[in-house]
Amino acid sequence: MKKAIGLALAVLVTSVVAASAQASHRVAVASTAINCNSKLTIAFVTPLTGGAGFLGNEQGSWAKYAVKTLAPKMGLKIKLVFGDTPVEQGPAIAQSLAQKFVANKNVVGILGPSTSGAVAASTQTYFQAGLAHISPSATRTDLTKTVAGKLEGTPAFFRVVPGDYIQGPSDAHFMINNLHVHKVVILDFQEPYSLGLADAVEATLKAAGVSTTRLSAPNTTTDYSAYVTKVPGDADIVFFPTQKPGDAQTFAQQLLEQGKKAKVFGGDGSNDASQFKVPGSYVSNFAPDITGIAADKGLIAGWKKDNPGKAVGSFGPPSYGAAQVLMSAIKKACVANHGVLKSRRDVLRQVKKVRINNWILGGTFRWSTKSNDPLNAKFYIFQIQSNGSYKLVG
C-alpha cells in the first residue's frame, strides 16, 4: 500500500512537472525587444463562466471577430488569449491573472478587465508593467475620474464606453425631464457596478427634488417578492441596475403581479431583448442598436456568419471597438519604432493617439483630453415596446 502511495505521488509529481515543462515561462520580463513581424499576443480578461458568463462570451466572440478581420488589414499577426474572472469569486482572481499576463513577454496589450471590480484589483499591476488595458464595459466612475478624493484607475487604464458619471445623471435627467417622475425606488446589488450607478442616479434625482427610496439586495438574490412589496404603490420608476437581464424581467413581472404601477428602468447591464421584454420598461445603453447603423452592415453580416444563431447584443460591439483601438495602437507603435517594439510601454504611449473613423458604435471615436474616456460619449435610452422590441426614446 505504501508503494501505491509512492507511485501515486510520483504520478502526480510527474504530471505536474511535465505540464510545467510544456509551456516555458522561463523568460524574464526584462525589456526584450519584440519584433512586429512575430506573433503578438493580446489577452482578454473577462468573466467567461459564472453568473456574468454570458457577458464574457459575447464580448469574446466580437473580439475574436475583430482580431480575425482587422489584424491582417493592419499587417499584424495577433493571437487572442482569454483570462476568466467569474464574478462569484470576487475581483481577487483578476490579480493572479494579471501576474500571468505580465510574465508572458509576448503579451503587448490587454483587453478588459470587463468588470469594474477586476479593474480596481489589477490595474496597478498592469500600470507598473506598462501594459495598456482597454476595457469595453467597466463603467465605474472612479476608475478614470477622481471621486471623493480617490482615483482607483491608473494612466494605463482606458475604456471605450462612457462611465457611470454619464450614465447615472443621463438616466436621471431622462426620468426627470421626459418621464416627469415624483417618486423613484433605487435598487443596488451590493457589488461595484450597481453601487456606483445607483449612487450616481440617486444623487442627481435628490438634487432635483425627486423623492427617492433606496433598497439593497444581495447579489445572490433571485426572488424579489419582498422588494416588490416595498415598492410604494405610487412610485413611478424602479431603477434596477442589474447585470442579469433575467432578474429585470422577473422584477417587472412581479411588479405586475402585485399590481404596482412602477416601471423598471434598467442600466446597460440589463440590455438583452431576449431576456428582458416586459413592455413599458426602460433600458439605457452606451450604444444605439448597431443594426441601425448603415456602415456596420457588412461587419454584422460577417459576425453573424461566424456565430450562427446568436443575436447581436449590446456588450459585444464595444469589445470589437476596444480590440480595434488596441490593435491600432500596436500598429502605430510598430510604425513609430520601425518594426521593433522596445517594450510594452511603446504601445501604451500610442493608445491616446488613436482615432477611428466609422466607429462601430457610430460616428468617430476620439479620446477625451481630460481622462481616459471617450470624448463626447452619451448614453441612449430605449423603451420596450409591446412586441418586445427596443425603441430609442432618448
Binding site: V11, T14, A19, Q22, E88, G117, Q124
Partner: protein
C-alpha cells in the same frame, strides 16, 4: 509526523532459532519493518529527524526563484506557501482536534480584513507591521475562541453547521459592511483597497516591481511557514497535543479521564484561527486589497481537499497536500497544461491500477486500438468530425486518437458527460472480465469528454476535479497520503 513506527532493532544474524524468547518477542516489530532495497531506503528516511527534513524542504523552496525568474511562477509559489499555512492551521482543528470546522476561511478573512483596517487609508491608521501582525493574530485567536464558546456542547454534525453559518455570517457582514448604521466599515463588495505593504527592518517591502511579483514576499511567506510549522509542532508534542489526540479518538473517554474537553476544543479553535489570521495579513499586504468574495465556499473546499489529501493529523502530510493541489489547480486553468495533466494522470492511474501486470498491457493496447479505430471511422464518415481546434503542445499521438469535432452539437456535452459518469458508476458495480471490457470504452469516453467538454470551460472543470478528489479520497483512502488510519469508537 507520526511517532508510531518503531525503530528497527538488531535482528540476530544466525536466523530463526526456535525457543529463543527474544526472537519471538521481537517478531511483531520485524513484521512492521519494510523489506527490500526500497523498503530499507524508506526506513532510513523515516529516521531522519524532522528538523532536517524541514530545513531541506525550506532550502528547496528558497532556491525556486533562482531557477525560475518568471513573476507568474513565483506568484504561484507564493500562493502555494499561503495554502500550506492555511492547511497547517486547518490541520490543528480537524486533524488534531477532530472538529469539523467549516467556517475556517472566515478567520482567514478576518485576519486579512483586520490587517487592512489597521494598515490602510480606510480609517487613516497605519500601524507598523511589527505591531499590526501580532495584533491581528491575537484578534484571530480571540474570535476563534468566541466561536468555540457556543460550540462546546455541539457534536460533529451540528458543529459543522454552526461553523458553516458563521462563514455565511462573515460573508454577509463584510458584504453589507459598507452601510452598517450609516458608516462604511468594510467597503462592502468593493472591498478595501490600497492596503499598506509590510514594513520590515526599516524599509517597506515592495509588492511588485514593474508589475512583476517581488520575491521578497515569497521569502517572508517561507519565514512565516517555518515559524508556524515549528510552533505547531511543539504544541502538538506537548501535553495539549496529547490531550487533543485523545479527544479526537474518543471524546467521551477523554472526558471520563478528567480532561478539560471544552477547554481543549476552544484551544484548537483558537490555534487554527490564529494561524489563519496570520496568513491573512500576508495575503492582504501582498494583494494590497481585500474583497469579501475571496473568503467563501470555494476556498474552504480547496483547503479541505489539501488537508484530506495530505492526511489530516500529519503536518508533513497537509503540506504535501497543499504542494500538490495548489499548482495543480493553477495549471488546470490553462488548456494546454490541463491536457497534459489529464493524459499523464490517465496513464498513471491505469498503471497504478494494474501494477505493471500483463493486464496493463492488454488494457493499454486495447484502449489505443479502440481509439484509433473510432477516430478513423469518424474521419471516414465526415471530415469535420475530427477537424476540431487543437492547441499546440500535444501534437501527434492524440491528434489521431481522440475525436475532436469542429463544431459540437449542443446535445453532445451533457449526454457524453452524464454517460461518462454513468459508465464510471457501472464500472464500480461489475467485476472481473466485464469490468475490463467496459474499461476500454470508458477510458476513451473520458478522453473525449475531457478534450471537448471540460477543456472548453477550465474554471468549473478544475473544481469538478477537486470535488471528485474529495469524494474519491473519502471512499478509498480517508487518511490521505500521510495520515494515520483512524478507527472511530462509537
Amino acid at each position: 509526523m507520526s511517532d508510531s513506527t518503531p525503530h528497527g532493532s538488531q535482528i540476530p544474524a544466525e536466523g530463526p532459532a526456535v525457543g529463543q524468547d527474544e526472537w519471538v518477542a521481537r517478531h511483531a516489530e520485524r513484521r512492521l519493518l519494510r523489506q527490500g532495497p526500497l523498503g530499507q531506503l524508506q526506513e532510513r528516511l523515516s529516521r531522519v529527524p524532522w528538523w532536517a527534513s524541514l530545513v531541506l524542504f525550506v532550502a528547496a523552496l528558497s532556491l525556486l526563484p533562482a531557477v525560475e525568474s518568471s513573476g507568474y511562477v513565483r506568484r504561484v509559489a507564493f500562493d502555494t506557501v499561503l495554502y500550506m499555512l492555511l492547511a497547517l492551521g486547518l490541520n490543528v482543528v480537524v486533524g488534531w482536534g477532530g472538529l469539523l470546522d467549516l467556517g475556517y476561511v472566515a478567520f482567514y478573512g478576518i485576519g486579512a480584513y483586520a490587517y487592512a483596517l489597521l494598515d490602510s487609508d480606510k480609517f487613516g491608521v497605519h500601524f507598523p507591521t511589527i505591531v499590526s501582525v501580532p495584533l491581528v493574530v491575537v484578534i484571530g485567536a480571540v474570535v476563534g475562541f468566541l466561536l468555540g464558546l457556543p460550540s462546546r456542547r455541539l457534536t460533529g454534525d451540528y458543529l459543522a453547521i454552526v461553523t458553516l453559518f458563521f462563514l455565511q455570517l462573515f460573508q454577509t457582514l463584510m458584504t453589507n459592511g459598507d452601510s452598517a448604521f450609516g458608516h462604511n466599515l468594510t467597503g462592502g463588495p468593493n472591498g478595501i483597497l490600497n492596503v499598506d505593504p509590510f514594513h520590515l527592518f526599516g524599509h517597506s517591502l515592495v509588492v511588485q516591481h514593474q508589475g512583476v511579483f517581488s520575491v521578497s514576499y515569497y521569502y517572508v511567506a517561507i519565514a512565516f511557514f517555518v515559524l508556524v510549522f515549528v510552533a505547531l509542532r511543539f504544541v502538538n508534542r506537548s501535553r495539549t497535543g496529547r490531550a487533543w489526540r485523545s479527544l479526537r479518538e474518543d471524546p467521551l473517554a477523554a472526558e471520563s479521564m478528567g480532561m478539560p474537553v471544552n477547554w481543549l476544543k476552544l484551544m484548537s479553535f483558537s490555534f487554527g484561527a490564529a494561524t489563519a489570521a496570520f496568513t491573512g495579513t500576508l495575503f492582504a499586504a501582498l494583494n494590497a486589497s481585500v474583497f469579501p468574495l475571496t473568503f467563501y465556499f470555494v476556498l474552504l473546499i480547496t483547503v479541505y481537499t489539501m488537508v484530506i489529501l495530505g492526511g489530516s493529523g500529519s503536518q508533513a502530510g497537509v503540506v504535501a497536500g497543499a504542494l500538490i493541489i495548489s499548482p495543480l489547480l493553477e495549471m488546470l486553468r490553462d488548456t494546454d497544461k490541463s491536457r497534459v495533466i489529464f493524459y499523464v494522470a490517465l496513464v498513471g492511474g491505469v498503471a497504478l491500477a494494474f501494477r505493471f501486470s500483463r493486464l496493463l498491457g492488454i488494457v493499454a493496447g486495447a484502449t489505443l486500438a479502440f481509439g484509433f479505430a473510432v477516430h478513423e471511422v469518424a474521419r471516414a464518415f465526415d471530415h469535420s468530425w475530427v477537424a476540431g481546434e487543437k492547441a499546440s503542445g500535444f501534437p501527434g499521438v492524440t491528434a489521431h486518437w481522440v475525436v475532436v469535432p469542429a463544431k459540437l452539437a449542443t446535445w453532445i456535452p451533457p449526454t457524453t458527460y452524464i454517460g461518462l459518469i454513468a459508465a464510471t458508476l457501472v464500472l464500480t458495480m461489475v467485476r472481473g472480465r466485464l469490468r475490463l471490457v467496459l474499461l476500454v470504452p470508458t477510458l476513451y469516453l473520458a478522453a473525449f469528454v475531457w478534450e471537448n467538454v471540460m477543456l472548453a470551460k477550465p474554471e468549473p472543470a478544475r473544481f469538478i476535479i477537486l470535488g471528485l478528489i474529495l469524494i474519491a479520497l473519502m471512499i478509498l483512502r480517508p487518511n490521505g497520503l500521510l495520515g494515520e488510519r483512524r478507527v472511530e469508537i462509537v
